[in-house]
Symmetry: C2
Subunit: 340 residues, 2 copies
Amino acid sequence: MPVGTKATVKGVLPRDLRELGATMILANTYHLHLRPGEDVIARLGGLHKVMAWDGPILTDSGGYQVFSLGHLAKVDEDGVSLKSVVDGAAVRLTPESVIDIERKLGADVAMAFDHCPSDPTDRAQVAAAVARTHGWLGRCVRRHREHGGEETGQALFPIVQGGIFEDLRRESVASALEHGCVGHAIGGVSVGESREWARAAVELSAPLLPADRPRYLMGVGTPEDFFDAIERGVDLFDCVTPTRHARNHRAFTSQGEINLRNARWREDTSPLDPTCGCTCCRNYSRGALRHLCTSDEMLGGMLLTLHNLSFFFELMRRIRTAIFEDRLAELRRDVLATIG
Amino acid sequence: MPVGTKATVKGVLPRDLRELGATMILANTYHLHLRPGEDVIARLGGLHKVMAWDGPILTDSGGYQVFSLGHLAKVDEDGVSLKSVVDGAAVRLTPESVIDIERKLGADVAMAFDHCPSDPTDRAQVAAAVARTHGWLGRCVRRHREHGGEETGQALFPIVQGGIFEDLRRESVASALEHGCVGHAIGGVSVGESREWARAAVELSAPLLPADRPRYLMGVGTPEDFFDAIERGVDLFDCVTPTRHARNHRAFTSQGEINLRNARWREDTSPLDPTCGCTCCRNYSRGALRHLCTSDEMLGGMLLTLHNLSFFFELMRRIRTAIFEDRLAELRRDVLATIG
């Protein structure tokens, strides 16, 4: 899923997202609650209308923002008090209010409101967050049912926490499974912990989640992360990397990552990635892209966004085919050997 | 012509420009000379390749930049010394160097290097600029011929100056016509003079230029300006207004200009312009656009750019049809009555 935090995947027209192969996209409950507000979005016809996107939309619940805002957020048993990044105003989120917001937004998949602990290696903190996430999930499920539940076409995905601790991950999975939801997410992974621990957390959680329902790994990641997670049974990802890197003029290519501002591309007439068939690679040389990027022209970020998304979607298409043809390990070797 | 100063019409993919109906676009000699430099563009295959644009490209000569840089530019009989807006370095432009640059860029229409006086009402200054522009034109034509002239597929357009003075405009037209060029431009008009004087300058110059060759009015303008100029026989325009206004979240509509940041559009579910069929108007409400604009999302400027260009192209299509059907005055009345 490309990330459209504030109801737009930055720098891309929906038509181009579709052409690139995007099916489901992500938006953010916390950011949209602040601006323009869920009531405004509802009056404008809901998130699909506002985003001009007729495919599925998943809304992140704001739990991750509580983590990323750090000391600006205060967690208590009932919910979270935090400050608006727009105007500094006090904001209160509870499991019930988050589900209400996601309902008004018109999300196809509403994420449960979880507590993502700031240090995944601090056992006491993680244990408390797992317990709180469990309690909050029950409240999310009740509120979601009050709105009509899945019958209305809106799914609710619980989020598994547990940091780097095997028993706490198991406990969190068990509590997530109590509610028979149609899909499940693994959270608390892309929070600054080491790669090894992140892999271990996925390895612990993913196989315990039902294989006949989507398993969604939140906020991950790089091509290597995708292979790691997919080998453990993960189906769904979101990550800002392709779009954010693009706006910083960094491109993913079949030969590895490159920075288009680098002077070495100044007179380079070759395409960004000779193996890619996207609008950017079909029409522009690295030298032309470098000019757009060093001149800080919008078109530089726009073209690299198209390319990076194309790169990620193409990788996912190849992975899907490899799974069906039972040669995922081989593809992993080939891809990681060339991108370095 | 949409304006693509630095080798990109800001915020639009060439594919979308084409779909909107753009045929010819403009780029700027002075800006591209500074960055990335005409030699780099030549090595990258020329401006068409760099811009991914296979239609005609006209390059402005830098004369207007000399005007707009004001005291940063020093004009002498041989040429102009000015400072780079990129890094403050000294830059020297002469009629010969400008034609050399436009040749290396690969422009389809190279504009002659003119002297655009800073005050179109200062007779002594304007008279000197007309004389200088005349001398420089001769040098441009010679240099252009040394490169193979029009036979190579590159046209050279002289620029008529003369400020607000009838005799000086006549004198400048006469000197422009000496060279039998395939098209002619009227310059020195969009330089801060009053609307009335600007109209008078066009009224003086345009009818004196050959009707069987394009008459290009530089840097103009608004829908009303277009009607004024077209009634006098002008064929070709360039203006940053549609794209620049769009990035400032101002939109041209059939009901007049509106600012999308305005709170009144917050919950407005109607399209930006109900009479418009562009991507923006087909897919987004004013409320959704306002959210994108107040959140400073790239997509806001991108969508308004598509719309504003669509508005200008559609106006031009209607004007062309009206000319063929001999009802230009009627169309003018209808259009100006609704846009106010």
